[in-house]
Amino acid sequence: MIYFLQTNINTTDASSYLPVALQVAFAVGLVIFLTVVTHLLGPKRKTSDKLQNFASGIESHGDARQPMAIKYFLTAILFVLFDVEVIFFYPYAVNFKGLGWDGFWAVLMFVGFFLCGFTYILKKGALKWED
């Protein structure tokens, strides 16, 4: 525990983050300042239309907390999986030449495992829309 008190400022660790800390403090401070100022200075004219939730200009009706079919959620999750797969291709594409055949086999293995998972969810009926 004593080490926390013995930190040297001239070393490379904590003090070099000072600009970052300043920037964070400025960002947070600006947000707080502007929010407070708008509340203090802005005129308050409340009408029932103004107090409604903004839903792209369409009148809102009903509660958003309704049970929803799990299928939508499942599809969204599976989409995220494929999204992440594509993310992995970017670094590979950038280093395509440097990685050579080793990289190619590694990526092929990755895609192979991914396809295994895909067949698995297909066979398990995750994408079957009708019951």
């Binding site: 080490y3 926390f4 013995q6 930190t7 070393t11 660790d13 904590a14 295994c116 698995y120 398990k124």
Partner: protein
């Protein structure tokens, strides 16, 4: 490396068998054959036969310590599947998927027992944790199982977050993920960043092994999860994380040993105290075993505290003794319908063989001589004495071992000295024989511990 790749492939095979094979007993025999294969290739690797030669840039190194632990883990899992695989089918309809998850967890176990880089440690911990969250909540219609899964998931991910933060701070301080580089400390005192990172890693690992101030999730999760999976969680997984814990603090922070020794001593004493004292007041055997697993974790923490050759030998023996005994007790417990102490009343009359083997398992957990539990506790205390400091910790450990006798013997007393009508149980011949083998292993290790320990050196 053999076991790592084969267990990953076996996981995929089990996944596919969930829709290719309709027959459950085929899937079960496949899983058991797969584990036998894992055991064989691992033993082969201990004798220098490697099938795969992959350049991991020394991020994973399979030394004798890792290989011996993997052998113990595979043997425990094999016995666990032989005893309880049939019960898994009763949890839910996804029998083959559960087995696939268990093989994936074994991948994580192999990674955390052999890591040399913090990245691999993190990967391994995650590969262990995520399937466990699923297995905990696998009894979907049971509210307690759902609650346990949610609690485990939230707290588990939080502690993984702490771990990542710690790894990031350590990288900031030392500029490397390798334990070798982390252990090199420039100058007289380590930097504040390194110490902060080490403490965060220490807290998150303590959480994973359920050491005292971080143990609150354990009873609820172990109690709520289906009993088959509690058995796996409390034994193989916990042991693996302990091995990772020891490896991390030995290789990366070994030079700072004197600085963190007192902290570990306090946490060890606290774990022993809370685990044992709370276990005394439990009414359900399953919950008692959950607290007993905290108490046993306290004893395993002694090896972290001492960190010498005795401690490493002791940990191996402890892991084997604890896993075998706990798997055995859980295997019997799964078959019962009443989990309270009263449920065991008159058990010896109706199931004499099961009662006898359960007694051996309980004696081993309590640390009675001639069982493996005694010698493993002995090694731990010897290692702790070997440091020559903090004698109070050893005294606390001995006292707490005495307390533990009370609640383990309560089960034995209920089985032998109380009257009860007994519960209807279906017990097959192979089940009985496996239990006998397990009990024999425990007694064998209690008399000749060197059968196991000599593997560390030769």
């Amino acid at each position: 490396m053999n076991a790592l790749i084969i267990s990953a492939l076996l996981g995929v095979v089990m996944m596919f068998s969930s829709f290719l094979l309709k027959d459950r007993s085929t899937v079960r025999s496949m899983a058991i054959a797969g584990l036998l294969l894992l055991l064989v290739v691992n033993v082969l690797e201990m004798n220098g036969v490697e099938f795969f030669n992959i350049n991991t840039r020394d991020m994973i190194v399979f030394d004798r310590f890792a290989l011996l632990f993997n052998t113990i883990a595979f043997l425990s899992t094999l016995l666990y599947l032989l005893l309880s695989a049939k019960e898994m089918a009763k949890v839910g309809v996804y029998f083959a998927d559960y087995l696939a998850l268990i093989f994936f967890i074994l991948c994580g176990v192999i990674l955390v027992s052999s890591f040399k880089s913090l990245l691999i440690l993190f990967l391994g911990i995650e590969i262990i944790s995520i399937p466990l969250y699923i297995l905990t909540g696998s009894d979907k219609r049971n509210l307690k199982s759902n609650e346990a899964a949610l609690k485990y998931f939230l707290l588990g991910t939080f502690s993984t977050g702490l771990m990542l933060m710690g790894i990031a701070l350590i990288y900031g301080a030392q500029g490397s993920f390798y334990s070798v580089d982390i252990s090199k400390i420039a100058g007289e005192t380590p930097s504040a960043l390194l110490i902060a990172g080490m403490l965060l890693l220490f807290f998150s690992m303590s959480f994973k092994v359920s050491a005292a101030p971080f143990h609150f999730w354990t009873p609820d999760v172990y109690d709520g999860a289906p009993t088959v999976f509690t058995s796996f969680m409390a034994t193989i997984v916990k042991a693996a994380v302990f091995v990772a814990f020891i490896r991390l603090f030995d290789e990366a922070f070994g030079l700072l040993h004197l600085q963190w020794q007192l902290l570990v001593a306090v946490i060890t004493a606290l774990t022993l105290f809370i685990g044992n004292i709370t276990a005394v007041f439990q009414q359900s055997v399953k919950r008692m075993l959950a607290y007993s697993s905290i108490a046993q974790a306290g004893f395993m923490m002694l090896s972290l505290y001492a960190m010498n050759a005795d401690a490493k030998e002791g940990l191996m023996l402890y892991v084997a003794a604890y896993s075998f005994a706990t798997i055995g007790i859980f295997a019997v417990l799964i078959k019962m319908s009443d989990y309270t102490f009263e449920g065991f009343n008159g058990f010896a009359k109706h199931q004499p063989l099961l009662a006898a083997t359960t007694t051996i398992f309980l004696l081993s957990l309590a640390g009675i001589p001639l069982t493996a539990g005694f010698l493993s506790k002995f090694y731990m205390l010897k290692a702790a004495l070997g440091t020559g400091k903090h004698l109070w910790l050893v005294i606390v450990a001995v006292l707490m071992a005495a307390v533990s006798v009370y609640y383990y013997f309560r089960v034995i007393q209920a089985m032998y000295f109380k009257e009860g009508e007994g519960q209807p149980m279906e017990v097959s011949k192979p089940f009985k024989w496996t239990l006998v083998v397990l009990a024999a292993l425990i007694i064998l290790l209690g008399i000749f511990p060197n059968i196991l320990l000599s593997w560390l050196y030769f």
